[in-house]
Symmetry: C2
Subunit: 135 residues, 2 copies
DNA sequence: CCGTATCCCCTTGGATACTG
DNA sequence: CAGTATCCAAGGGGATACGG
């Protein structure tokens, strides 16, 4: 059964732009931030606390990037002390669907991947056995 | 202090591993390689030619990574000159589904993102200050 | 043809200290 | 609290040359 083969042109401008989007999505923290905000609006330090290991700098940069792309909305309340809330825009929420699909795939196959890595590493260790799969 | 995040916990081990998978997917060239191979097996130089701008080094590295994760299968034909073919494994093919979902999302919303970027940049420049990174 | 090895730049990203 | 600014280490990634 042949799956529908979509326009395959990694070289075209279309795929290049998609690649840019994926670069943002693939950025180390972006996905985690989006997932966090998917549950509702959060303050800066709430996000920081909920994502283990992220530095202040990277949180700022990632949020700026997401805001720039129209995925996150930043709201400043002019009070003292400052109160800033971040929330997903409609666009940001729409991203959570394919992201969840990817997350579901990852959850489902993470064990396969781990097994493949172990096998690969073991095979490499035995460098005598060339992976020749002569047909 | 800690608001419960019931459905998704970015801090949990599960999401951490998913993040690893996404890191691979988000790597600059991986997606393009997978998309290329989704159309069928390809030789090394065929992949290189079909992806504009990729260096030999990065193609090798990415293919190794994908092979290690069990997403791509490498077959060497012991002939002269060497003939090596790469193809997606079943696991690799299953990845194309969520990836396509993401790609579809990107295609659909790329204009929104571009518009948001323009607006954001204009807003920033209007304030007379470069906040940080204007990539 | 299919890589591996080397050099090197440049970005990413952490740690820290400092403002409003 | 919510950032900015600065320094610095690690590694991603290009260019090139060479081996099988």
């Amino acid at each position: 059964m042949n799956v529908t083969i979509p326009p395959h042109d990694p070289d075209s401008s279309g795929c290049q732009r998609i690649s840019q989007v994926l670069a943002r999505v693939g950025e180390k923290w972006s996905i985690l931030i989006i997932i966090t905000l998917a549950a509702g609006p959060r303050r800066f330090s709430e996000i920081k606390r909920s994502i283990n290991g992220i530095s202040q700098r990277m949180l700022t940069l990632c949020l700026r990037g997401l805001e720039r792309d129209g995925l996150v909305k930043r709201t400043v309340y002019a009070v003292m002390p400052p109160h800033v809330e971040y929330e997903l825009t409609a666009l940001g929420h729409s991203l959570t669907e394919p992201v969840r699909a990817l997350g579901a795939w990852a959850s489902k196959h993470i064990s396969d991947i781990d097994a493949a890595r172990k096998e690969f590493d073991a095979r490499v260790e035995h460098q005598g056995q060339t992976p020749f799969t002569t047909k």
